[in-house]
């Protein structure tokens, strides 16, 4: 691996860039859909531009250790600003481009940014609105001058002028910048990435060149990512994922980063570029699948039947073929036919024609969605990552991807589960701490370098990490068995019949569940069964529906049972709520997250019934109608008991 050795000499991103300018000189480094075509820049051009930028930035006073903020959509020029700043030993601080002014102000102020580089008028206006309150900011540089002609604030600079002046300086005296680049070392701070925390102010994670480079190289090697890859840079530049996938890994491997024309054209640009290496949160994969299904609805009968048939074939053997596992000859032939008629054209129109690996992370992906992509030959894999780890912690192997794990630890990553069930890791990618937040740093990072992820999980017997819930949400049954409500609820909600599920068990002898059925799905099913119903409440109370849901719950139980750690938390009793959980009643947040405490209060009677021997209970509930009137709903809610197979003795219990 001589190449690796030579690259290994480069211990900072600017040095790697200089290396690429020689090694991959005329290969495309960045592309951007602009003015109708994919404008391209080679590594050499990029390096020259970065140098010019760096000289320009230096000339206006940016120096080692300074913070420079970057706000905008994914644009090659903004990535180059990062590299230019890093060349000088300054630290880029990207800010989410859609942040409100207040949030932007917080980050600018907290990071003590001296300069800001933005994309266009929209961002300039946002910055101008807070400029008075960040006196440290000396310059604001913009790239797209449109609409800014008459802005006369003295601190505004254009990107073009910056590069222009820098280029002259670099030509007359390149040694200055060479020296700056040479001074940089791996342990220097490379970037501050502000995590959008769910609670409180966001925290700035400090990552060094070593953190990023080692992690990126490990990922490139173990995932076989080389210079011939194409990635679509469409997720926010301020997000660690984009930073590692479309910046550090790209520079480490020398592959091409493609920036879409605008956020609105991402799907189209994805189709055009056909990336080989792709990341998307589960939500996007789900949206694409929904679109596929909707569009196929409009197809002619014959095409629809063919699609259905071949999708069934794919479900049967597609994933196995992808993983090179043995498959019957007939299926192989059918799959080959499907490849011509359905899978390959489908991958083509979705933009997945060249994909070698696609990643997803962030939340649990529905098994149907996961299987769909793998079955049509898209190698989707789940990973587990965090900003504080320079992203990569675990990754599923190509031939062993399952919807319910996040894979094996990456190279150089150690994982352990704390006594409280929290996943902890240690790796070369572990960050240096939160900027100006010693308290949070100490809380998250142990003295011997272990980082507390805040997620509860465990290692399955095959070594795969399973994340089950946020650690603070995990509870225990009275016998000490681990109880991860969201994990079970998610499993339930993957069934189309179940719209919402609330699982109870913390401090209780067993797990029980409150179920909301999906009126569309179950309603359809009922119609096909010839069951007539008058309302949600009516349908929800039907024994046939209880049977239906019970079957789903038993499936989940069997899943749980397979896992010794969770076998004890199988659902024993459940009921179907007589009304839909409603944000208007305060039971859900506006983003449809369950508010456990409110539910515990308003359904107290039902909950206590779940932990009694009652087989049904009469309820009255206040409901708010759509017109705002309040009413009283009376119903008799049945409670089902589910017989469990013998629960094996858990391997793991809290002592």
């Amino acid at each position: 691996m001589s190449e690796t050795n030579r690259v290994a000499l480069a211990d900072t991103i600017p040095k790697m860039l200089a290396h690429n300018a020689l090694e991959y000189a005329d290969r495309p480094a960045f592309r951007e859909k602009d003015l109708g075509i994919w404008q391209s820049w080679t590594w050499r051009q990029v390096y020259e531009e970065v140098r010019a930028l760096a000289c320009g930035l230096r000339a206006v006073g940016l120096k080692r250790g300074d913070k420079i903020s970057i706000i905008g959509d994914n644009r090659p020029h903004l990535y180059w600003v990062m590299a230019a700043a890093q060349s000088l030993g300054a630290v880029p601080v990207p800010i989410y481009q859609d942040s409100i002014a207040d949030e932007t102000l917080y980050v600018l102020d907290h990071a003590e940014a001296r300069m800001i580089v933005v994309e266009d008028q929209e961002q300039v206006d946002k910055v101008l609105s807070v400029k008075d309150r960040v006196p440290r900011v000396e310059f604001v540089v913009y790239r797209d001058a449109r609409g800014l002609r008459h802005y006369e604030q003295p601190f505004l600079r254009t990107y073009a002028a910056l590069v222009e002046s820098g280029r002259k300086l670099d030509v007359t005296n390149p040694a200055v910048l060479d020296a700056e680049i040479a001074t940089g070392k791996g342990s220097d701070l490379a970037i501050i990435l502000y995590t959008s925390g769910t609670t409180g102010r966001s925290k700035g994670a400090l990552l060094t060149h070593d953190n990023l480079i080692v992690t990126a190289r490990n990922a490139n090697q173990s995932e076989h990512i080389h210079a011939d890859e194409d990635v679509l840079a469409y997720l926010p530049m301020a997000w660690a994922g984009d930073h590692i996938f479309s910046y550090v890994q790209a520079i480490a491997a020398g592959f091409t980063v493609n920036c879409p024309e605008s956020p609105a054209t991402v799907m189209n640009d994805l189709r055009e570029i056909g990336p080989t290496f792709f990341f998307a949160p589960p939500r996007i994969f789900e949206n694409i699948l929904t679109q596929v299904m909707i569009r196929m609805e409009d197809a002619g009968w014959l095409k629809r039947q063919a699609f259905k048939y071949f999708m069934a074939v794919a479900r049967r053997c597609g994933a196995k073929i992808l993983e090179r596992k043995p498959v019957a000859l007939v299926d192989r032939l059918l799959y080959a036919m499907g490849q011509v008629l359905v899978y390959a054209p489908l991958r083509n129109v979705l933009g997945f024609r060249r994909i070698r690996r696609a990643y997803t992370a962030g939340e649990a992906i529905g098994p149907d969605i996961f299987d769909f992509y793998r079955s049509i030959g898209v190698n989707v894999k789940q990973l587990f990552g965090m900003t504080e780890a320079s992203v990569y912690i675990t990754m599923q192997p190509d031939d062993d991807a399952k919807p319910d794990t996040v894979g094996l630890p990456m190279r150089d990553v150690e994982i352990k589960i704390s006594e409280t069930g929290e996943v902890m890791f240690r790796s070369p990618g572990v960050f240096k701490g939160y900027y100006k937040n010693q308290e949070a740093t100490v809380e998250a990072l142990t003295a011997d370098g272990w980082f507390r992820t805040g997620d509860a999980g465990f290692l399955a017997p095959d070594g795969h990490l399973k994340i089950i819930d946020r650690a603070k949400d995990v509870g225990r049954l009275t016998d000490g068995t681990l109880f991860a409500p969201k994990y079970i609820e998610n499993k339930l909600k993957f069934f189309p019949n179940i719209k919402e599920a609330v699982c109870l068990g913390d401090g209780k002898p067993y797990v029980s569940a409150l179920i909301n059925i999906d009126l569309d799905a179950v309603g359809n099913w009922a119609e096909r069964q010839g069951i007539t119903y008058t309302s949600y409440t009516d349908l929800a109370g039907r024994p046939e529906v209880y049977d239906l849901i019970q079957a789903n719950i038993e499936r989940v139980n069997r899943d749980l049972e397979r896992d010794p750690n969770l076998a004890g938390s199988q659902i024993r009793r459940f009921l179907i709520l007589h009304k839909e959980l409603d944000a208007d009643d305060g039971e859900l947040t506006r983003t449809r997250k369950v508010r456990r405490r409110i539910i515990a209060d308003s359904y107290g009677m039902l909950i206590s019934a779940l932990y009694s021997d009652k087989s049904h209970i009469a309820v009255e509930a206040k409901v708010t109608y759509e017109d705002g009137r309040a009413g009283l709903l009376k119903a008799d809610v049945a409670i089902r008991k589910i017989e469990l197979a013998d629960v094996p003795v858990p391997l793991w219990k809290a002592s």
Binding site: K303, N348, V349, R354
Partner: protein
């Protein structure tokens, strides 16, 4: 279904403006060209070449010519037969007058005569459009045929008033005359078609073509942009007539080999017009498809019943053919005014989006 466009993105305007920007299209067109040039002369027999392929290729060239004028520049012409006659008679006069100059050169030169005549009859297009212009071009048609018929100088005073292709060669290979093989004549015509189709495509995808289409779609706006209507229309007449002239020369020298003016009568004009309506107005590819369709249809009409052992009187077949032509024109104008090309494009669009319906 067979398209795999994802990942074939354009990084330059040159690639984006290519005639066939999609890789698969490039390959299929190249494949078709290779088959037409290499395989067809090998496989096809004399009948196929003489009865189908040669006329198709020649008419395709004439149809491209008319399509430039009618489909792109929007100037309806019924004088195609007349302009073709100019090419044929000019070539005949030139090659009998200067036999030592190669016939192919003469064919190319004769196009200029046709172009000049085209410009002359195109002058009214400044003042008139639509069917008025059609009548004016009809005047050209009748006048030209009449003059070639009545002035014996044009047919070198032969007793029967016919002109016959004299034997001419290129590097010792007989191109015209009784010894010219069908394969050679086919290849010569095909070479003309390929080159001229390519040139025409270039014309219509650049500023010249845009000014034609601008005049066609909205002449008032075109004029205010700075497009000179007369110049633009006359250029279309000239180039269109050049194409028709060359096609006429080939029609006479490479196909019929011995003709009287009847071969260029108004029916030829109609036939070529039908080719572009059915093939597709404003499409080079459509001109070729339309020519093939119109040449093949009568052959199918006579041969299919024979294959099915059904006897159809010659008269019936002839009139039936006429009715079908007429009916098809109306059918296409109603159902698909942009012709077979449009159907082809729709099919292609479907294949590109496969498995999605739209």
């Amino acid at each position: 279904m067979f398209y795999r466009e994802s990942g074939h993105f354009r990084t330059t305007y040159r690639a984006d403006q290519a005639i066939f920007p999609i890789v698969q299209d490039r390959w299929s067109v190249a494949a078709i060209a290779v088959v037409a040039v290499v395989a067809v002369p090998w496989i096809a027999n004399e009948y196929w070449l003489q009865a189908i392929l040669i006329p198709t290729v020649i008419f395709a060239l004439a149809a491209i010519g008319l399509n430039i004028l009618t489909g792109y520049a929007g100037q309806l012409s019924l004088g195609t037969g007349g302009f073709m006659a100019v090419g044929a008679y000019a070539t005949y006069k030139l090659t009998t007058f200067l036999p030592e100059i190669n016939i192919l050169v003469m064919i190319l030169v004769s196009g200029f005569f046709a172009a000049a005549v085209g410009i002359l009859f195109g002058i009214p297009s400044l003042r008139i459009k639509g069917f008025y212009l059609a009548v004016a071009t009809l005047a050209a048609q009748f006048f030209l045929v009449w003059i070639f018929n009545r002035v014996p100088w044009f047919y070198n005073y032969t007793s029967n008033g016919m002109i016959t292709a004299p034997p001419r060669t290129l590097f010792g290979v007989a191109l015209t005359g009784p010894h010219a093989s069908a394969e050679v004549r086919y290849l010569v015509c095909l070479a003309f078609l390929i080159v001229f189709a390519y040139l025409a495509k270039n014309l219509v995808r650049s500023a010249t073509g845009r000014s034609w289409m601008a005049i066609r779609d909205m002449d008032v706006a075109a004029e205010i942009i700075g497009i000179r209507p007369l110049r633009t229309k006359l250029l279309a007449f000239a180039i269109s007539s050049y194409y028709c002239g060359v096609a006429g020369a080939l029609y006479m020298f490479m196909y019929l080999q011995s003709v009287e003016t009847l071969a260029f009568d108004v029916n030829v004009s109609f036939l070529v017009l039908f080719m572009i309506i059915i093939g597709g107005l404003g499409s080079i590819m459509g001109s070729i498809i339309g020519a093939a369709f119109i040449v093949l249809m009568p052959i199918l009409l006579t041969n299919v019943p024979r294959l099915l052992s059904v006897q159809i009187p010659v008269e019936l077949a002839k009139h039936g053919e006429q009715m079908i032509f007429g009916g098809l024109i109306i059918f296409f104008l109603i159902v698909e005014p942009l012709g077979l090309t449009r159907l082809w494009q729709i099919a292609k669009e479907k294949l590109r989006l496969w498995p999605f319906p739209h």
